[in-house]
């Protein structure tokens, strides 16, 4: 019955994605913990962390695909939401350090002692509680997106103008977080974490659990976004993307639809950031850099916008390539490759890896039925 339900909701690619993710979520942590390192099936801890990082990026990419692929909003500021979520988690982790910091202050994190601060700023209150931190990781980016989107969509700022002001948003946040007196650790950001929920962040078991949770979150994110896009809500989103004015004239409150999609997407990006920080062990203002946000856009474009699965695939593929390049002797050439991907994808492969594969499959089927309609609607601007 479950299988029937799933089949009714997801096309083949989606199902395949869910199965692969579920398998990864179970296999990788178990293999890391219980299969001896000598075995070929053992996944070393650093590989697992790396994969966890990719999965966080995949969540970010899916959230971006929700607004760009389905709603036509090209956000160049999603890195800001990701980083805000990361900071929320980072603040929780900083509070957990307690007296083990260099200055051994029971309440204040090291950098505040260093700056000669006497008490905790108000916005750090509550971050000693894990549930609060998680709620903030969703709420802070969501609120920012809500306010920003409310202003922008209401006055019908669209297209490239929206892209540019989202970029300005993340740039302004980056400058702000670089300041020491913002109270977020300035340049160095937040790092040197010890515990999460009482478990050491360095411990193998914690890392395996984090990976498992990240994979689960990715599955959940995909299912949520899939659900949002196949319901009638999702149909309206696509309509907004393809013909905004017409949708408005048909009586839909376009800005409300956009606002919901944008806010949900930002909250998901925040969640991805919150999962990312304990796995990499640091969050600093450079996460806000406009280049990061635009790189996330290219993951989506590479995988295939408007496919959700494609976004996740693109994030993993591009980041795998990045790791592969930047760790070897080819490191100086990575930016050439990345730049090349930007140009190649936009010029030659506008529907991305997954989109192109789906088109091939569709054409083959159509060839048999003598019908030449691509299954994925070409996204209009």
């Amino acid at each position: 019955m479950i299988i029937q339900y799933l089949l009714s909701r997801y096309e083949k690619t989606g199902l395949a994605f869910l199965i692969v993710m579920a398998a990864l979520a179970i296999f990788v942590p178990l293999s890391n913990l219980f299969i001896p390192p000598s075995s070929a099936f053992h996944v070393p801890t650093h590989v697992m962390s790396l994969m966890g990082k990719y999965l966080c990026f995949a969540i970010l990419a899916i959230s971006l695909d929700l607004v760009w692929g389905y709603c036509g909003i090209l956000s160049l500021g999603h890195g800001a939401f990701f980083a805000l979520g990361g900071y929320a988690m980072g603040m929780y982790l900083m509070r957990q350090i307690g007296t083990r910091g260099v200055y051994a202050h029971p309440v204040l994190p090291d950098f505040m002692v260093f700056l000669n601060w006497k008490e905790l700023p108000w916005f750090w209150y509550g971050f000693d509680l894990f549930p609060f931190a998680i709620v903030m990781a969703l709420f802070a980016p969501g609120l920012l997106a809500f306010v920003f989107g409310w202003l922008a969509f209401r006055s019908r700022v669209t297209g490239v103008y929206l892209s540019i002001i989202t970029q300005a948003l993340t740039y302004a946040l980056m400058l702000a977080f670089f300041r020491n007196d913002m109270g977020f650790g300035g340049n160095n950001g937040l790092t040197d974490f010890k515990d999460i929920l009482g478990f050491s962040v360095q411990a193998q078991g914690t890392r395996a659990t984090l990976f498992f949770l990240t994979a689960l979150t990715l599955i959940g994110t995909y299912m949520l976004c899939r659900w949002m896009t196949i319901t009638s809500f999702g149909k309206v989103l696509v309509a907004v993307r393809d013909a905004e004015s017409r949708t408005r004239f048909l009586g839909y409150r376009v800005e409300h639809y956009k606002l919901v999609a944008f806010t949900v997407s930002a909250a998901l990006a925040g969640l991805a950031g919150a999962l990312y920080v304990p796995q990499v062990g640091i969050i600093n203002p450079s996460e806000f850099a406009p280049a990061n946000s635009i790189e996330a856009v290219v993951w989506v474009a590479t995988g295939g916008r408007g496919t959700l699965v494609g976004a996740a695939v693109g994030a993993v593929v591009v980041n795998f390539a990045k790791t592969w390049f930047t760790t070897g002797a080819l490191a100086p050439y990575w930016l050439f490759v990345l730049g090349g991907i930007f140009i190649f994808v936009t010029l030659a492969m506008p529907s991305g890896i997954v989109g192109t594969l789906q088109q091939w499959a569709g054409r083959r089927r159509a060839g048999k039925a003598d019908e030449a309609k691509p299954p994925v609607a070409q996204a209009a601007e």
């Binding site: 922008a152 103008y161 300005a168 601007e381």
Partner: protein, 535 residues
Amino acid sequence: MSFARVLCALLFSALACLSMPDAVRAADLPSALTRLAADDFTETAQAIEEIADSGAPHAEAILTALSNARLFIEPATKKVFWRTPAGVVHDALSGEPVAAAPAGMDVVRINNRLRRVLANAIGALTLMAPEPQRRRAAAEALFRSRDESALPLLEDALKAEKLPAVARAFREARASIMLAAAETPKAQRIESISVLRERADMGAIASLRSINAKADEQAKALAAEAVADIEQRLKLIGYVQNVWYGLSLGSVLLLAAIGLAITFGVMGVINMAHGEMVMLGAYTTFIVQEFLRSTAPQWFDYSLAIALPLAFLVTGLVGVAIERGVIRFLYGRPLETLLATWGISLILQQAVRTAFGPTNREVGSPSYMSGAFDLLGVSITWGRLWIIVFTLVVFVALLLALKYTPMGLHMRAVTQNRRMAASMGIRTPWVDAMTFGLGSGLAGIAGVALSQIDNVSPNLGQTYIIDSFMVVVFGGVGNLWGTLVSAFALGVANKFLEPMAGAVLAKIFILVLLILFIQKRPRGLFALKGRAVEA
């Protein structure tokens, strides 16, 4: 000119020395030197005064040596010597160099109280120094210390002084001292206040505030009034200075944005590689200068003039290549254009990094770009001034080119109605390429100018790209005048916010304001109206 001045000053100061009753005073020197030999702080203080009053030509050298622990006593003979920083030992009595320094000399010790006495004495002595700069510096020191005991010397120096600028500094110092002194007649106090009011700077305010408590009420009221007046004036100068800095920043923004106003504003192409065109222009300047340094150093002052057309050509050609190779396939898909040009910018950055290394490159300034001058209390650097002038010239040239050349006519025709222009026989693809090349070329010459005030590194373009877009969007797309107004408005606003909030906060504040502004007027300050908007 300045040589003649120094000569005059030398002559006059020599005369001044001669006119003093040398014979009487020089007699004090031996007794002063014996006091020094006592190695007692009170005696030394007395000795310092006597040496200063002795009028001996080398008195200043002795006192300077004393303050730098280079004054020695030979215990056996009680003779005093000083050593110059170069290591030559002189006899303190005669001032003549000594062939061989006696062995076993003791340094004359001083303490903090003596240091103050010394500083005053040396300050008073340098009032007679042959170099005008030193006399002026001494006057400034007295102006700040308000040391009453130096007044007679100051009067002497003032009588002997012939340079108006230095004499003014002396008068100001005298006014400052008289104002702070207890026993100054009312008329002189009032005159002093007016002298200080003329001076009108922070120092004058400090002097006016330290008016002696025994001064009568009228003088005190006058001083307070003068302080208020000076503060008012300083505030005004501060405003003018801010406006100047703002115009300077605005011209930089305009330079960076003017090419974008063509590619984005006129053609509607989102060129994220625009900043890299600026960077390429700056590197062209670097190459030209390196070439000139190695082949024809005497032509170095012309390096910018040579770099300008070259940078325009280089970046213009790169621009045409980008348009033909990538952008022409993406017309009508602005979001894809944005991504593709971002990719180009990454490649260009990395290419430059590979070729020239990731570090900053040294780009020199020609002689006419360096230095500064003072205009009504506002300090203006030549480099900034030239950049403003240059920006305006480029702007006007661009306006004229768009309006009066056949190419400009074609460009306007194609942007207004592409299909109609095509049917009139205009080769629209060619015009597209040329327009993009023009925009990129403008970015290139902006790079030549910006190489003078910014670090030339592969990241140069990144720092300007967001600002440039903000300028164009704020000014209104497709409107060059809007770009001009918005660049200067943003520059001035930024500089006025900076003293209040700090540089980074000011920038954040401006960005937030812009984001809010775009909500209100999505098409900028000077939006095009009518049909052009739909295109």
